[in-house]
Symmetry: C2
Subunit: 358 residues, 2 copies
């Protein structure tokens, strides 16, 4: 795990497929998360791809099926977007406290990060292939094979054509100004700003324009919101897409010992979809009274807002709570209980850490 | 109040300015709310406007200031959108149970409704006036004068230019296929789908293209989300815009007596902004177990979804609860307490009615 820095930077859930999240402290240090401390949620081993031999096939409901090389892609207009990616299972650990979910990674709040992504607009590639009038969805397929599906299959997903044509959706070959690292999808990954990380398919090799969602395992069976008593199965539940409003406390860490007096508190808030973070409130009394946090620089509509404030804490144990409000004046649920669902997605209840003040 | 039908159809909060909401039972009857039972939230008396003399001024940061007559407007391409309007104070009564808000109307769940609106795109009018490169917001001013402001001023508000250029934003002269009635803004009102009703300015007479939000009372002081202990004032709090996800039970009515056995339950759910309603859950045990409701016909991305289901209820008192989930897998807060704010906006906690089953 040397590539992922110190053990106090990354929390590794499984080594292969690699599943690792950023520690709270490390996540709080940068508005733009360095690649070597950016969370990794993989469903198969990292494929061994030779960039010189890599090709991207674009077919399905298009007038002109295409096969593009990396040089072809680099010949198109380069675009850049600062975007937060967030795993649908981020903060699952809060749901596990409600009820167990066997076999799922116990993600804390570090299955998210923000980077500038450089590449070409998926829309520009689709313009070359010319989707037909019946096209409504775009399937995105990676080269990584997952044994979570039976039989094993490549990871993939789909988004609606309307979103695919938005110029923020990139086929990215750069992350924070450098070549995309293998573990993050080199040579080319999709970046779908505002959507769950699973739609930002890594090791992309196939774009299929369709008249319905992609039917692969990771679109049709998992990454769906189910009723508490439902069993995952083809088409069961509603597919996840845009990310729900979320917020967490990163500093001080949960269960930390701190000194009485002024305590610096820092964390993130992220409004997915088309929304932005309007306000972040922090409470030291479980939500009876709140202070409004200061928001860091606005990195644009697709990125989180880091925030900070100072709380004056007396001796004793304190639960510090955070909640965000988005541009629709919507906020977050107080407790994770009503959010529990099979597979454990979308815990966006108020963030909480307990501090021991001495 | 003859124009607003039977007294069991409309609940009149004040007669002048007229403020009236639709009863639960009346609201449940139509996917498209008839004009004579559509909620009215006015801040001044209905202005006496002669359609033949009416003009619309478009100025500010435009290359070509314009004055258009109703005939000029009707000469542009006619468009139609099915859109839900919802007052920012809809369901305020739930917040009043938390803490009083003197001087505000105690709106129940009927300060919302859905209609097809016919008119021209604001974008088409703006295209004639040609906003300059510095334009970022569009002010919308009506002819109704409100004494809530001191000194009294015309009602108005603003939206970002980006939204104003979307083709769903209409200058409407028709409602449900008929001429817009005076109380709903004749001859021309704005309809801003997905946004709080206050931005759908009635009796429109002035469109001002700007490089900042409109500074009038109803944009700069009210229709803003404040911290619980803040006092309304210029620029205090965050402006409301898109509507937060909401849901309510309309049938049976709150406090109704029903017969044990199967009970038909019906209501609405609305996802504002760019989102759509993905799922509606109903519970007869306060949220421990849920059944998924059937959704009525999808009227398009800007309209509510009415829903219905059947619950089997034994004798005794039951609290029936509803919650919706949107396309971001976001749901609603369980209780209104944490939502309380000065002026009492955006109560989108779970909907609840108590039934007495005999």
């Amino acid at each position: 795990m040397a590539a992922y820095g110190k053990t106090d930077t990354m929390i590794v859930h499984t080594a292969d497929p690699l599943n690792a999240e950023t520690s709270r402290a490390a996540l709080a240090e940068h508005d733009l998360t360095p690649a070597d401390r950016f969370y990794v949620r993989n469903h198969g081993s990292v494929p061994d791809t030779d960039p010189a031999a890599w090709t991207l096939r674009i077919d399905g409901l298009v007038e002109q099926p295409l096969t593009l090389s990396l040089d072809d892609l680099r010949g198109l207009q380069r675009r850049e977007v600062a975007a937060t990616l967030q795993c649908a299972g981020n903060r699952r650990s809060g749901l596990l406290e409600v009820r167990d979910i066997p076999g799922e990674e116990p993600w804390g709040p570090g299955a998210t990060g923000t980077a500038t992504w450089g590449g070409v607009a998926l829309a520009d590639v689709l313009a070359l292939a010319r989707p037909t009038g019946t096209a409504t969805h775009v399937g995105l397929v990676g080269a990584d094979v997952s044994e979570e599906a039976e039989p094993p299959q490549e990871f993939g997903g789909s988004i609606r054509l309307e979103k695919a044509l938005r110029d923020e959706v990139l086929l990215a070959y750069e992350m924070n100004g450098e070549l995309l690292p293998p573990v993050h999808g080199a040579p080319v990954r999709v970046v779908v700003p505002g959507y769950i990380g699973a739609r930002s398919v890594k090791w992309l090799h196939h774009v299929e324009v369709r008249d319905r969602p992609w039917e692969g395992f990771f679109q049709d069976v998992v990454y769906r919101l189910l009723q508490p008593e439902q069993e995952p199965g083809p088409g069961v539940g509603t597919p996840l897409g845009e990310v729900a409003l979320n917020a967490e406390i990163l500093v001080p860490d949960h269960d930390a010992r701190v000194t009485a007096g002024p305590v610096a508190v820092r964390g993130y808030a992220f409004a997915g979809g088309e929304r932005h973070v309007a306000r972040v409130d922090v409470s030291a009394d479980g939500g009876k009274t709140w202070v409004e946090a200061d928001l860091d620089e606005d990195l644009g509509r697709w990125a989180w807002r880091l925030w900070s404030t100072e709380m004056h804490l007396d001796r004793g144990d304190h639960e510090i709570v955070v909640r965000a409000w988005d541009s629709a004046a919507a906020s977050q649920p107080e407790h994770p209980g009503p959010l529990w669902n099979p597979k454990g997605y979308v815990n966006n209840a108020w963030g909480r850490v307990t501090l021991h003040v001495a």
